[in-house]
Amino acid sequence: MKDAFDKTLKAKWKKNKSLVPFVLPAIVFGVLFSYLPMVGLLIAFKDNINFIRYDNPIQAFLAADWTVKHFQKIFSDPEILKYIANTLIISVLKIVILFPLPVVLAVMITEAQNRGFSKATQMAVFLPHFLSWVVITGIFKSILALDGPVNRLFGTEIFWFGEDKLFRWLVVFMSGWKEIGYSSIVYVSAILAIDPNLYEAAKLDGAGKFRQIWSITIPSILPTIITMLIIRVGYLMDAGFDQIYTMISSTTRNSGEIIGTYVYRISLGENAGQYGLSTAVGLFNGVVALLLILITNKIAKKATGTGIY
């Protein structure tokens, strides 16, 4: 068995060794700028590491004590379960509600026959991606203020940003507003690459618009959709730190606080030199993400034959 494996590997190597230089630059960049620093993940197991007073980082590393207290801290707080739950709920809401919308939008954009209109639309929906969350939250706060235009328009008195029950939905809505257009670009380029002859044939068969979309467009871009989904699932533990950090306030922490913002909060006043806790959270999130990606990839491969590798 092993011999056979070696043999095929050797055969593969022989056939494809001329391709190796093509991946090499990417691997070199990866090793230098990602893997080498990844040694630093060990900081998650160090207490009070002081990088300033030692000649070089290795000395600082060796001088610090080993500890698992950062992981204990993450899991010992009784409130952490609630924050993990919040993270998952917001993430899942974002995936379920927001993941399909860029596909729909891409279909709509590509179906618009007027090319000028289609291009203008693409550009308009793409714009919100360029605003930082600080700016976006500021704008939405004024639009949704108690005496703001939205409440006046509907004659309501809803305190959008201060109402715990509405908070998650507001997060999902604003996240959608910012990213749907940007995410749809991948699908737009994929749809436009579909062979137009397929549509011609379907038209001859008398298929209506919905039929065409359902049986040509969607299957054609399914691999792209699955790829995006797998990557998206990998980010399940990250419910959008920047966004929630700018949106959250005292009265919405109950349903809105996520692991990212919580850790930021408990390490807020901590000496800037204490990197252990945030590294520990990063490591934990990374491991969960890796598992999720491997699992979804496997499922996707079984079910549809496409995965990311």
Binding site: I27, V31, I52, Y54, D147, F159, S249, L268, N271
Partner: protein, 508 residues
């Protein structure tokens, strides 16, 4: 390919591990043998200015500093998001002769043992520094008898958080300035009923509205209390009076007398409500008075004319018939020398020493802060007051940025010239500072040294207390869950901080 990877990583690991002789901390030494007649150029790192660094270096105030001290200084500035930059520049041993830090940045770098002990250098080269900085201020930078920086105390210890009322509306409704919580409630109710506006607004970073909390005997974040015959320093959340304060505020909120959006408002947003006449009163710092005036007087022609008695100021409600108010103390900035820059530390101290010098023969400090007499300011010897000469004084707007420590003996007097630029602000400041020495109450920690444990949990416990105030105000509608919150506050680090603070306090 895999092999090459292996080789590569081995080489890399080797390169990193080579200098692994001994894990000893790098030494930090100060060199007293320097020649003051041969002044080197100094590299000084400043906080973010809002301008390009070329502008900072070309500013006339920088030239004044160079003129009076004889040192050529190259200023550089931190980005606004300074935490990681500060750490990396120390790791990289960037050769800054001096760095001007905020007190929080100072505390964290002290904890990392990153700063040079300046005690000897001050002894050798800083006679003026020693003289013009008060014992209190030295306390904020001294740990175990070692001085780690030159503290910069603010111009004057201000009482600066009033509730600003629309005086015209108060006159219109025949209201007088309230003195007790009940009177305040009546006034706010009147605004709501008669003017149909938000009676009182403030921002989401203000769980303690100082002028109201004073009516319940709360004057500072950390305050001394007599508990069982012993004096203890307590956080406001721990005090028995806090419960009454929160219940009172929750009642105001419930009756619609406090801005319903207060838990999400930035300070600029609450100011905008006041200036667009949607709110009748705002709790803010007096330094925003000039912008409140400008906001309300949109006519550009009126800007520079006097706005007589535009606002009413509530400094503090009375508690048991006595008025006390929070007074700001301490040193917001500290100038330090990195631990590895000891060789030239003497020059830095000499530089600061001549900046603070203010005597008959050389008014260096005055020239930096106020400029030239009769060009930038005039002196009235009868009243002992300094007045700005308006057309030139704008040049001194940026002067305080260039300070590295202040001459505490004279700074307050100089600084008043600046307050005088705006009549309403001058009036407000005058009202707030009336009898300041008897009315004002300092925070127990205003002049505390950097406390390591407290510094490490400070952000956490402050945010927690702030959050829970708004939760009680809006969600709980009162203090029913206060005991639980207090427990959580303690376990989040409150207890740790409290212990350290009280230990320091007892040995003070």
């Amino acid at each position: 390919m895999k092999k090459s990877l292996c080789v590569f990583s081995v080489v890399m690991a080797g390169a990193l591990l080579c200098p692994l002789a001994a894990c000893k901390k790098e030494a930090s030494t100060y060199d007293p043998d320097i020649d003051l007649s041969n002044k080197p150029d100094l590299r000084v790192l400043m906080p973010y200015s809002g301008y390009d660094i070329a502008t900072v270096n070309a500013d006339p105030n920088a030239a004044v500093v160079e003129k009076v001290t004889g040192y050529k200084v190259n200023y550089e500035q931190l980005p606004t998001d300074a935490t990681s930059t500060l750490n990396t520049l120390f790791m990289n041993r960037d050769s800054y002769n001096a760095i001007k830090l905020t007190s929080a940045q100072f505390a964290s770098l002290v904890a990392e043992d990153a700063l040079l002990d300046l005690s000897d250098a001050i002894e050798d080269f800083g006679p003026v520094i020693k003289e013009v900085i008060s014992e209190e201020s030295w306390g904020t930078v001294t740990v175990d008898g070692k001085i780690y920086g030159i503290p910069e105390r603010s111009s004057s210890d201000n009482i600066q958080y009033p509730i600003v009322f629309r005086q015209d509306w108060m006159d219109e409704l025949n209201l007088t300035m309230p003195e007790t919580p009940e009177e305040l409630k009546t006034v706010l109710q009147k605004f709501k009923d008669e003017k149909n506006v938000i009676p009182l607004t403030f921002d989401r970073f203000t769980p303690i509205v100082w002028s109201i909390a004073a009516g319940f005997g709360i004057y500072a974040d950390w305050q001394e209390y007599e508990i069982d015959g012993k004096t203890k320093v307590c956080y406001y959340m721990e005090t028995p009076n806090y419960k009454e304060y929160v219940d009172y505020m929750a009642d105001l909120y419930d009756k619609g007398l406090i801005d319903q959006e207060v838990s999400t408002l930035e300070s600029s947003q609450s100011q905008l409500k006041f200036t667009s006449e949607k709110a009748a009163a705002i709790s803010t710092s007096i330094w925003s008075v000039s912008s409140l005036v400008k906001g309300l007087v949109t006519d550009p022609v009126l800007q520079n004319t006097t706005q007589e008695n535009m606002f009413g100021y509530l400094r503090a409600l009375k508690y048991n018939g006595v008025e006390h108010a929070n007074r700001l103390g301490g040193c917001p900035y500290v100038t330090v020398v990195p631990f590895y820059m000891g060789a030239q530390a003497g020059y830095v101290i000499d530089w600061i020493n001549s900046k603070l010098t203010d005597a008959e023969e050389s008014h260096n400090f005055r020239e930096i802060v106020l400029g030239e007499e009769n060009t930038h300011f005039t002196y009235n010897s009868r009243t002992d007051e300094y007045n700005p000469v308006n057309e030139h004084f704008a040049e001194k707007d940026t002067a305080s940025y260039y300070l590295t420590g202040s001459n505490e003996k004279v700074y307050t007097k100089y600084w008043l010239a600046r307050v005088k630029k705006q009549p309403e602000l001058e009036r407000a400041w005058g009202l707030m500072m009336k009898n300041a020495d008897t009315v004002g109450v300092y925070d127990a920690l205003d002049f505390a040294p950097p406390l390591t444990d407290y510094a490490s949990v400070r952000g956490t416990i402050e945010t927690y207390a702030q959050d829970q105030f708004f939760v009680m105000l809006r969600t709980d509608k009162g203090t029913s869950k206060l005991a639980d919150y207090l427990k959580k506050w303690n376990s989040d680090g409150g207890e740790l901080a409290s212990k350290e603070i009280n230990k320091w306090f007892e040995n003070k």
